[in-house]
Amino acid sequence: MSAAERATVFAETMTGTVRLRGEDADRPIRADLTVRCGTLMLPHRTTPARATGRVRIAGRADDTRAAGTLEISPLARRRIHYRITFSLDGRPCVLEGWKSIGLRRPLASLTVLPFTLTREGSPDPVGTGVLRFRTTTALGPFLASMRFPRRDEARAAWAPRSTGTPGRTEVWYTTATDPATGTGLWLHHEVVTPAGSGSPYAHGWAAVFPGKGADPVVHARFGPVPWPPEPSGGFTAAGVEAVPGRLRGTAGPLSWDLTEECGDDGPLYTFPRWSWRRPLLPAAQIVPSPRAHYTGVVRHGPDRLELRRAPGASARIYGHGNARRWAWLHADLGGGDVLEVVAAVSMRPGLDRLPPLVFLRLRKDGRVWPRGGLRSAIGWAGRGRFRADLGLPEWTVTGRAGRRRVTVRVTQHADRTLELGYTDPDGSPATCRNSETADARVVLERRGRGGWRTEAEWTLDGTAHAEVGDR
């Protein structure tokens, strides 16, 4: 495995003191950072990295959305440079400093980070201090957090998976919410290779969900047309295109032309990562662009919806067909956090008697929880699995892993929900009820000495993307 194919991820916690301007005493400061390098971190090279996390200064700052960059070059430049922007007294502040690596005191130079705090645009420091990486307490978690994941290119995840095997369905779908009007958008592109002798065909639909049910949901289908596609790296059929960075097409009175800016967080594997590479499960879903932004125009007859960096996501599904019963949620929680939930009951004999298997992935502060891909679905041999209570207009998912537990409550108002018929590769029908303007409430709790405490709480008012299906 070459360095180019691996990324590096680690978490680093540093503590220290800072002297703010105008004060005559030091304050404690703590930085909990998750650092991601796009390549394998090699000590003799210079590796640029992104850092996200939390910066706290006692009594003055506690920003869980601190973000910035690192330049890791312990040998080549003898420097590990940090530049983190966080909120101090409600205003952006830049923490900049570097560990200066020296051979005389290698440990101290690798662990001591002198820094200066400045306001954006002003060179005068608002504070100076020193952060230290405490080897006694922080080295263990640091080493345990070190990961060298394969580099997952969103672009690669868009490529068609279908190899002509009968009885497969493959989906590219994109959902977005216009921040100006609250309007939800759903673009669904699907390739079905029928079970038996039929030829693969492509079809799909687009739907616009006016905000808060101001108007009825509008939707229109395109296709079916024969597949295979032209080589484009994504879905291209019937004049509709869904390729990395670009979505455009026409379906009845609806037409759209959007560009996608996917964030650099990397794909979110709702199902275990291996299940996407090796299709052993009945179906698997992946979100190549979990925090994307869409810019462009959606036309509906005379109406025109201008999207300007509308937050949303693009996802992919590949498998044998739809589940017996299922629910799906995509929730952009803001600040870089995102929640993806799929709860499904399989069509396979035997598996169809099980309660819904819940695949829940919460990316918070740059880290995904639960860590194991199957943890939420099957727990420890069934014990401790996450539970779903599927229904309409409200469905819930609850679960606990490690010292955290989550409660997700989704509400799909009938007037903002679109009911559509699906057809499996084997021809059997299913019904989906989708809302791109759903409400959701997510509560994340952490267990400490005093019992459960709320760690984070999100309420999405008309900006959640959800779906419930059955037969």
Partner: protein, 621 residues
Amino acid sequence: MSSTAVRGLVAALLADEGGGWPAAVPDRVGRLLASMPAPARHGFTAAAAAVDACATARTGRRLARLTPAERETVLTRLAGLPGAAALLDVVKVPVLLAAGTERMLHAGAAAPPPAAPEDPPLDCVPSAHWPDRSRADAVVIGSGASGAVAARTLARAGLRVLVLEEGRRHSTAEFGRRAPLDRFAELYRDGGATVALGAPPLLIPTGRAVGGTTVVNSGTCYRTPDHVLARWRSRSGLHDLADATAFGARLDEVERMLRVAVQPLDVLGRNGTLALAGARELGWRAGPLRRNAPGCRGSCQCVVGCPAGAKQSVQLSVLPEACAAGARIVTEASVRRILTEPDRPGGPVACGVAVRRPDGTELEILSPLVVVAAGALQSPLLLRRSGLGRHPRIGRNLAVHPATSVAGRFAEPVDDGGPAVLQSAGVEELHGDGILIEATAPPPGMGSFVLPGVGRELRYELEQSGRLATFGAMIADRPGGRVLGRERGVLRYDLHPRDARRLLRSVRAMGELLLAAGAEEVLTGVPAAPGARTLVELDAILADVTVRRLHLSAFHPTGTVALGADAATAPAHPDGRLRGVRGVYVADASGLPSCPEVNPQLSIMAVALTVAQAAGASVSG
């Protein structure tokens, strides 16, 4: 507190008979030694111990316990020995420094300090108050003549400039309050005891303060001679930099910055007027020097900081303009190394500097542009510490102005207590032969002239020193020095035989000048033959004297990171870029390709102006 041996030696040298100003000299010597580098300090202490041991061996008692007469006997006998005489001559230097100061204080000769004008504002921050990590658009290492010009040029180009200075800021008011010797020890690197090893060894004093050596120079401003510029063009390929017209325009600008003008005669002092009188008598070309000291009041303390604020050292003239344009000065900041990024495409790139504070802690400043202006003796060390000293010519090509002094005893007091300019008149008759004579009368003990004799004889000379006129001559040398090492550095300078002949010739010329001006006796400073009353006597003395017997100093070190078109011989490009790294510019005296043959402040500043403009253009372009 000085040791018994040192106290005994001082008492013997100055014929201390108890009481009076000599009693305070040992302690002052002790304080002076404390500011000197360890080798000089230990050398002096060892010499004092050796003299003390001789006294003990001869009399059974230590030097300090002998009576004045016994001390005189011991010392006179010792001075009669060939090797010991030379040793005593070296030992006399710090003692005379301290004695001169004490005598001046005792006599109340120190005129009340002139009302010091308020210095122009500078944005100075001690390194202790500077953050450990910071950024700048450009870092200038050194705040002397070249650093100030570079900072001013870059700041006016809109860059955020930080000037890093190893010394601290000294105000004009402070110069007025403190005794010259107290300032001397602090204003000079190594307490003024920087020595270039060689035969003979040379004392090379350099300043260390905000303003660099311009704080302690004599303020003499010569424009770069045309033949020097022509040599830089033809031999070093500096066709653009040393273009006569362009360089002349830069010299004009520098002169405007420094308010250079011919020194008026009203405060010139007798030392200068005697030089002019002697030259007039001989028909030699001479005149008052051009100086950057408008309104000079003749305090005669240029070499320890002008207490009147008249001398336009760069901390009073150029640096305020740099600060007004946004530059900041970090003082007491010793730059340890230039930081580089060796893994950049296209080769290493400078990215900042690491700086040591007086308490030993370090700070770092990131900057894409680093201007080296640490002086010709320090810049090579800095580059070597930074791993940038691989060019074989870095540290070589050291040119200085070897200099010697001659005094003339006059019937009338020369130092009449009135105003006098320290370096007042220039005699350029022999400049074509590489000899520039300047009438130079530094504060007691601070010149390169060493009074002859020991004991009572030395005491007499000291008491009569007010009747001495002192001239100095400096030689345009062939670069023969090297700066060795990485940290403190060792200087090596081999005087070229041609330059040795020039020095001896300059001694004769100064003697001739003094005699023409009416001197009763010319004091050569040579221990074996201290005085001559006629030119014939002087010639007879000089016929037996080699250059090793002279007391030599050297000034104006240049050329250790020379600019030039030939990559094999010049470590820096003609526009100042250091070869082998991007983002480092050499703007100081080390960039001068060869000896400028005159007091070099204007030349250095004009070169710095050119280099800084190129550096600024490289960033903005």
